[in-house]
Amino acid sequence: MSGPRAGVPLIEAEDVAMHFRVGSALSALVGGRPALVRAVDGVSLTLMRGESVGLLGESGCGKTTMGRLLLRLLRPSAGRIRFDGEDIAALSGAGLRRFRARAQMIFQNPFEALNPRFTIAAALAEPLENAGIPRAEWAGRIERAMELVRLPDPGQFLARRPHQLSGGQLQRVVMARALLLDPDFVVADEPVSMLDVSVRAGVLNVFREVRARLGLTAIYISHDLALVRYVCERTVVMYLGRVVEDGPTEAMIEDPLHPYTRALVAAVPTPDPDQSHAPLPIGRGAPDARNPPSGCRFRDRCPLAHDRCAAEAPRPTRIGARTVYCHLHG
């Protein structure tokens, strides 16, 4: 074995873009053109089979959109996505159904992911029914999935409704639901952000364990590098719809190459009362996906920006196992 990047690619995204057209009624009245939100704007990303990759960045940078594109829950405005060698845009019929079973999403808010009126048993049966799994297999599959997420004695939970479970238990049910169809690939979108810190640990442990046991290929979406570190060997940092850095998580924490990654590392909350209170090395203001700056998209908040940053978009520079998109490095 020669590291996690070795092996066969499962997912290959090539120059993928997702532009949303948003027009307010008001702007239409005054004859304005509808705005274009560049949620994802030219992302290339390859995931090897069994690899687990963190997708990191601020609110609105396009993480969820990227996840939905990879699962074909959205159709890209440009670019191509291959899953196991096949272009997912071309899938239909039985091929699409097979893909839907193999690629699953674990949603952010367990309280919204499950219908409050359905029992846990019904919530777990639904994907099995939709996928046309013979009824005789249901009980076995449900039991196995519940065992994987460490909800021992499933009988105890199956008859309950979502509000009768704790947040941590609920998020495990949501995870079990994503595992019922033996997926190869899962996208977990901030699966612990709605949970109390005290129960996050349990859910993260389960995610890590399940991934390893099943050899899943996974994307873990978060804005908190401490969480990503805990489940992913590799991290991809996004800013305003683009990748700015990609590489091994530990190296990124020790020595962040991109100025934005540096700010993200410095912003990670820590329980240490003696931590630094130095101001974050990043300008204020929210990135605006309707109006991204020319050149490097981070330049208006970058403490190290120079002339070239406004003129050209940085191209990828390889440094060992890492890739960075910044004029300071290339």
């Binding site: 609110s59 109390d196 810190v197 129960v199 640990a201 804005h223 401490a226 805990y230 974050l280």
Partner: protein, 342 residues
């Protein structure tokens, strides 16, 4: 010794619910020194919001004071006539509600909402109110020209800044902020906390900061009170409580936290869930989840005891805290509880 601006003694708040009466806060005590930030930390449902709201006496209809006092500069907020309490709100004690950023009225410009407090509550004339509104926006780091915007034109972080500006409008001495950075991403969270620290120092404010996140406590608080099932189980200065916790629950909280330093080991959850407050267990409320519980813990409620200085904890095994800390640092100690609480 610094002056105590707020002294909460044995406070109990009960909610009337279908199955009976539930004490969401049940004998909580806490002293808030003036000019400091005191953190109130604990997991969801432990009574943080209930306690914080009780201090403003704006409580849901089914809530009632079931005992105790809250002395603000010597006067008991719990028994103050409503008219006097009303005079204290905003002017002396201000409250930033949980998810304040979603509580701004979407149909009014933020400047209008700010002026309403300044004119309606503070009795300022329009001119002074306008100048004060601009000053407040400057204080929380938003361009004053954006006073004319509607809440939806602001990001979550900016709306949280507006909520802080609202609380500061009439120059209160005590600010109670309920989860002011929960649900914000790490960069915005840090920027809001920096702003809060700067304002607190500059204005000499006393702040009670409610959170479930001990890293927020570590970053901004001078003192901290740890709540569990309606009670304060440990309190002290932040450094002592976070580096030498004396209560097993605090030890567990510190363990469960993912961070960037040190080895990427296994995280250690506190197994199980907090007790049903309609029928709390006899004895120590943490006993069912505590790896160190002995018979006495299941029979008798542990009293709050001083450990040294202002460090307090309510645990029967307080004398053994150091040895328990060593055991609490091991994953197996907590993993062993998984079977018991299931």
């Amino acid at each position: 010794m610094t002056e105590t601006i707020l002294d909460i003694r044995d406070l109990a708040i009960a909610y009337r619910v279908a199955q009976g009466e539930m004490r969401a806060v049940d004998g909580a005590s806490l002293a808030v020194p003036a000019g400091t930030i005191t953190g109130l930390v604990g997991e969801s449902g432990c009574g943080k919001t209930t306690l914080a709201r009780a201090l403003t006496r704006v409580m849901p209809g089914n809530a009632r004071l079931a005992g105790g006092q809250a002395l603000f500069a010597g006067r008991d907020l719990m028994t103050l006539p409503e008219a006097e309490m009303n005079r204290l709100r905003w002017r002396e004690i201000a409250f930033v509600p949980q998810s304040a950023m979603n509580s701004l009225d979407p149909v009014y410009r933020v400047g209008t909402q700010l002026r309403e407090v300044l004119v309606g509550r503070g009795g300022m004339d329009r001119r002074r109110a306008r100048a004060r509104a601009e000053e407040l926006f400057g204080m929380v780091g938003i361009e004053p020209r954006r006073l004319g915007d509607y809440p939806h034109q602001f990001s979550g972080g900016m709306r949280q800044r507006v909520a802080i500006a609202l609380a500061l409008a009439l120059g209160p001495r005590l600010v109670i902020a309920d989860e002011p950075v929960t649900a914000l991403d790490v960069i915005v969270q840090r920027q809001i906390l920096d702003q809060l620290l700067e304002l607190q120092k500059g204005l000499g404010l006393s702040v009670i900061l409610v959170t479930h996140d001990i890293s927020v406590v570590a970053y901004v608080c001078d003192r901290v009170a740890v709540m569990y099932a309606g009670q304060v189980v440990e309190a002290g200065d932040v450094r002592t409580v976070l580096t030498r916790p004396a209560h097993p629950y605090t030890m567990g909280l510190c363990n469960a936290f993912p961070h960037l330093d040190g080895a990427r080991g296994v995280l250690t959850p506190i197994e199980g869930a907090p007790p049903d407050l309609l029928a709390p267990p006899p004895g120590c409320r943490f006993a069912p989840r505590c790896p160190f519980a002995v018979d006495a813990c299941r029979r008798q409620a542990p009293p709050v005891q001083a450990i040294g200085g202002t460090h307090l904890a309510a645990c029967h095994r307080i004398a053994e805290a150091e040895a328990l800390r060593a055991r609490a640092a091991r994953v197996e100690t907590w993993a062993a509880m998984a079977e018991t609480v299931a």
